[in-house]
Amino acid sequence: MNSASTKLMHYPGFGVLAAVCLVLLYAPLLVVMVYSFNDSTSITRWGGFSLRWYVDVFTGVEAAKYKVAAWNSVSIAAMASIVATTIATSAAIGMTRCGQWNGKSASFALINLPIMVPEIVTAVATLIFFSAIGFKTGYLSILLAHIVFCIPFAYLPIAARLQGISGSFEEAAIDLYATRWQAFRYVLLPILLPGVISGALLAFIISLDDFIITNFVKGAGIETLPTAIFGAVRQGIKPNIMAISTLMLVVSVVFVTVSWWIGRSGSRSDNR
């Protein structure tokens, strides 16, 4: 690009708005991060740097409650992510590797339905379903609901990557007497792996993030981190909530960094 076209591309004020965008996105998070290190019990006045609320999260009176909630969240997210990614990988191959057929658009719409239906509607429908068939709400009902809404989030990056992989690899494998499963397992899957991993990471985060659907289908006596935090916030924002928020924020940032890094290394190997 030469400098003349660069100048033409420039619109005054756009850079300022981009900076405003970043400030708006980060200001609340940074404020909570900073105040999570506040020594004062009065939540707004700054009383010096301290780790006391982090100590409180792990050893305080509510530590046991949050530990159970965190374990529920992580275990549900891990299982939902693994199951959803498996289903999505299979579906993505079916959608991108099998040519044109009647009902392909319908199948695509069905797979992406969980993204298109508003979360609160999914929550209501799932609660009604479980209650109508007499399924006991609890850990398992949360897990089942999470698997379903994670499928399209896992599907999209996997299908996107599949579209960039030539079909000649698996054809060559078949020509060399590999079975269909071997062609998938030893040829297609290794090339597809960055897509599968980013799909699984996205599904994991989406499951961890969910509040509304979990809140509807969880039943009494079980909490995930978001529902436990929501319950606590109803009584006011205490400093330990800010410490938990900061910890979850760090987990999210680590995840997005890993996923970004995998995506980059994936695209780099394409160019080779």
Partner: protein
């Protein structure tokens, strides 16, 4: 966003064609059983009779929809009037979602454009910065916003210390706070699809416009925006749809006076109202509105492809 439309072009030969149905069956079954059937049952429930303290009696009734649209007085014997309570909540939700879409576009489009015109190295960093909040738990983001803007929060504290304000501005529990929350929640959804469109834009077109004496802003309006329109529409839908059914922002930032559809529905199942058929009916109305928007999108998308 290309990902929303089925891909016309397919790669690959016939290796997996024979097992197509077996590959797709798990996704069809899981979504069919745990989403399609539940939505159908929700439709059925909206025509049933309510049981007190939640649940339903299996008896056909139009009471849920009747309660939504009409006011027949406390004992059902007064002349029928339009019931404004719920229509107002829906109207408020639509206006809030439209405004959130508008503000997200206002900030999101310049941001996306700015990022897409950076050199590749800093472009990646900008994108990363925009993506991080999208991955952070929405509840935590909303709680953070509440903490920041509430009357005893840091924002008011700083502004009063700086002498800008004499007393807290009372932003929390207003429609403006809800709007701020929606805008803040879904802003990345606007930036990312527009960025994807602008990144593919051929900037030689802007040069050509300039050579033909188009002013900078005319070129933006007449050349750039029409070309990246699919990205703009995708961004608008990705902001509008979740805003319409949002629960966390109105609940945490809006308080009881600024109810939106999401809180209304939640109250029927988790809260004190306990009227399942009514909650199912309100959910059906919300779902119909969203499907209408998506159909409009699918039609414009189809027109573009043809």
């Amino acid at each position: 966003m290309a990902a929303i439309a089925p891909e016309a072009a397919t790669t690959g030969g016939s290796v997996f064609t024979g097992v197509r149905n077996r590959l797709l069956m798990p996704s069809w079954l899981s979504i069919g059983i745990l989403l399609v059937i539940p939505v159908i049952m929700m439709l059925v429930y909206s025509f049933l009779t309510k049981e007190f303290r939640g649940g339903v009696i299996w008896e056909f009734s139009l009471a849920a929809y009747d309660q939504f649209f009409f006011d027949r007085g406390l004992f059902g014997d007064e002349p029928v009037k339009i019931e404004w309570t719920y229509l107002t909540i829906f109207a408020r939700s639509i206006v809030q979602a439209l405004l959130a879409t508008f503000f997200c576009l206002l900030i999101g489009f310049p941001t996306a454009y700015f990022i897409a015109t950076r050199p590749p190295s800093s472009r990646a960093i900008w994108l990363f910065m925009i993506t991080v909040p999208y991955w952070v738990n929405l509840l935590i983001r909303t709680v953070s916003m509440k903490f920041l803007i509430r009357d005893t929060g840091p924002l008011n504290h700083w502004l009063m210390q700086a002498g800008v304000l004499n007393e807290p501005m009372g932003l929390i529990n207003t429609n403006i706070a809800v709007q701020l929350g929606l805008f803040y929640s879904y802003l990345p959804f606007m930036v990312l699809p527009i960025y994807a469109s602008v990144e593919r834009f051929d900037f030689a077109l802007l040069e050509a416009a300039h050579d033909l004496y188009a002013k900078r802003w005319i070129a933006l309006r007449r050349i750039l925006i029409p070309v990246v329109k699919p990205g703009i529409i995708a961004g608008c839908i990705l902001v509008f749809v979740p805003s319409l059914g949002a629960f966390l922002a109105p609940d945490l930032l809006g308080g009881a006076k600024n109810f939106m559809i999401g809180s209304l529905i939640e109250e029927q199942f988790k809260g004190s109202a306990g009227n399942w058929p009514f909650g199912a009916a309100a959910s059906m109305i919300l779902l119909s509105m969203v499907l209408l928007v998506l159909m409009f999108y699918a039609r414009s998308e189809a027109r573009r492809v043809l």
